[in-house]
Symmetry: C2
Subunit: 453 residues, 2 copies
């Protein structure tokens, strides 16, 4: 069997890419099903868009994206289209909304799909991963933002996860920071970038960096805040307390800054709704540190941490983005949504030992002890399937002993053995693999017994 | 709203690519669900593999594939990997089997996924489309080939399709053609290529072409069959009759050609099994003209035509391919499977007017007539979902009249209207959208009524 060795191809994947073998995939599909069922219970509608789109449409024709996405010319000689594998499902949704103005709004859609990003595989990140998104397009009601958080809560709860925290904030509050603190809003981007390092470098280092003067006349990143502003920032970063308590402190801090006050009122409304819905306060938290990147979101923003695994980051995130559709139409259409990072979530459940271990889809496997009985096996399998029992026929060439090992390894609970003598007597042997018991049954008795499971 | 007109991006797709909006996607998902349920009833296990793989692994680094697949270097400067978007799910399956020798065999897997090919969009073909495959790896039993055909039958039947014909043949029979007809087997590829034109150019033209001498010494495509061989080919192409009748004629024609005799015996066995399974002979047919391309399959081959739309081609095809895993391991592992061309199938069902028209996932939509009632709406929706009723809250800013239009357009059967007075009286108004009737109900009465649906 070792001939032609030199011409063999190594069956390897690209770094950062992954197969999902059945032992994981059965569970993974259960996760997909639960998410879909939950999304549909809120009336979200399914959408599917292509994996490959024009770079200009996805906005990846800008230089800043060059190293982050899979972008190429679709003719190898360079005369074709500039295309990109989608890196999220939100931009394609915005394109769909723009391209189909007749879509009835509010438009609630969900979508599951692969997205591709050039993450570092060394860091254990995936370069192709599945997102499962729900978005509401065409509603600026705070009810929609509430519904997205409620959806996040229900989805994770339905997945059997109890220990999580949905943290939310509002970009409008952060947008009030320049006015509240007293710095030029042109510096906001750089200020936020430095604030983002808080977890990594700590409060004092952040404050030091915020006050740093430019190194030279070309240094555009230095924010050079004065001492008074730095003091206010320290005060802002020290605001603490659970939910209403923090909200009251934020109200004090941002008093008179109208954009922030609007954001705070929205957060208050969301909190009232979540309390009214009896969603446990253990599972959600108003958190001024949630920012969700810079520039994309326009209102409430959400992140979800698994309490036992905070280090893996957010598994379910989103926010309001009222300006995205306008890229195509010029017309502002409000939108809010969230996205489950399914692969990250499942990797986390695996770490927590919460991953289901179903190894088969079949409940019954049939073993025909002679070739003469193979039609009998086909017929019996067909009949069992017709009454709703998922049934496999053993298709290998192993002896009965090996067939039993196969059934045991696949964890198929019942093995039906067809032997010449039994079949002649109108009977079959049923082996209960878990109870390790055998029964000689008529087809009628077999039906009764299998219907019971 | 028309500012910045020049900077707007046209929200257009690439040619040959397609969005599936909810009105089609809901039905499409039902199709996916039915296929999956059927595949699982046979004990097939789910698998997921990446969309992007190494070109060397997919075999697309050969020149002949250059114009047919999406192949590129994954660093734009050309220093990265030579990668290709997968063009089918069978080659990735073979790679998985080769890379995971510990996989218990027979290994029955199903997989749904997008594949990408550079088809001509002008011809209405898709360049990204969904395949849904089932394969049995590690079994050379004819039972497996039978099971694949049975699976094809059950899948289409479960999809509510009655008028279809699964046509099957065996590559071993075709492989016996050189010996039976009397030509050098080195010419087989060119002979089959000419035979493939039968539908297009007709019998006489095919025979003329088969007898053509080479134009010059470099012409390697001419088959130059002698008159005797051409006569035999005419005889072969004229073999007709339904199933057993055709089988008997094929037996006569190929008598003494052992490889063909083996193929015929396999077809006979499959026929016996299908008859034994009571699968109507209207839905399957032994057909010597089925070839499924050249060089890939090694045994039984299958194709499925929708009786009312033969022109769209095969919607469910496959066959036995015993040599594919050996590309990676050098070890021969038998395999057989089939693939549903979901997009082509759904396009056909659309043409036949058989496509479902569900426009919503929600059964109930709640309309809160004042903002004070929005928490009440959230609570009621939450309660309805908890008893299994998919419920949407109207999230737009329209007046009641517009909300009714929204519910009607979405075809949501029930509208619950929350008004201040009713809620104070502990009641809600339920509007049956189909019966065009309204009821004033307590929550208890509402539950009773909605549980009934």
């Amino acid at each position: 069997m070792k001939e032609k060795k030199t011409r063999r191809i190594k069956p390897e994947l690209l770094g950062g890419f992954k197969d999902y073998l059945p032992n994981v995939m059965i569970f993974r599909q259960d996760v997909f099903d639960t998410i879909r069922r939950t999304f549909e219970s809120f009336g979200f509608l399914p959408l599917e868009t292509p994996g490959l789109e024009r770079s200009s449409v996805l906005g990846t024709d800008k230089d800043e994206f060059r190293m982050e996405v899979y972008r190429f010319n679709d003719n190898q000689n360079g005369t074709g289209q500039d295309v990109t594998l989608r890196f999220d499902l939100t931009v394609p949704l915005s394109r769909v909304v723009a391209a189909n103005p007749e879509l009835l709004k509010p438009f609630k859609r969900y979508q599951r799909g692969s997205v591709w990003r050039k993450e570092s595989p060394q860091a254990g990140r995936f370069r192709e991963f599945t997102q499962f998104d729900a978005d509401i397009v065409g509603s600026d009601s705070i009810l929609s933002d509430t519904e997205i958080i409620e959806l996040m809560y229900r989805t994770l709860t339905n997945l059997g996860i109890a220990d999580f925290e949905i943290r939310f904030n509002n970009r409008k509050i952060l947008n009030g920071l320049p006015e509240a603190v007293g710095f030029d809003s042109a510096k906001a981007g750089n200020v936020f970038r430095i604030l983002d390092k808080l977890d990594k470098i700590g409060l004092e280092e952040v404050l030091r960096e915020l006050q740093k003067e430019p190194d030279n006349q070309f240094d555009e990143t230095a924010t050079a805040l004065d001492i008074e502003s730095a003091k206010k920032i320290r005060e802002f970063l020290s605001l603490s307390g659970r939910n209403r308590e923090l909200l009251a402190k934020a109200e004090d801090f941002f008093r008179g800054v109208s954009v922030a006050e609007e954001g705070i009122r929205e957060c208050e409304k969301i909190m009232e709704n979540l309390v009214g819905l009896d969603i446990p306060e253990d599972n959600w938290k108003f958190d001024l540190s949630v920012a969700r990147g810079l520039g994309y979101y326009t209102g409430p923003v959400f992140e979800t941490t698994l309490t036992e695994l905070p280090e893996i980051g957010s598994v379910f995130s989103g926010g309001r983005y009222d300006d995205l559709v306008a890229r195509y139409t010029g017309e502002k259409i409000p939108a809010v949504g969230a996205s489950v990072g399914v692969d990250r979530l499942i990797a986390a459940l695996e770490k927590l030992g919460k991953i289901g271990k179903k190894k088969s889809t079949a409940k019954v496997i049939i073993s025909a002890l002679s070739e003469n009985l193979s039609l009998k096996a086909l017929q019996l399998a067909d009949w069992l399937r017709s009454i709703g029992v998922n049934t496999e026929i053993y298709l290998g060439s192993g002896l009965l002993k090996e067939q039993i090992v196969y059934a045991a390894k696949r964890e198929i609970p019942f093995l039906i053995i067809l032997g010449e003598d039994e079949v002649k007597a109108g009977k079959v042997k049923l082996k209960d693999m878990n109870a390790r018991k055998e029964f000689l049954l008529t087809e009628r008795e077999l039906l009764d017994r299998l219907s019971a499971i």
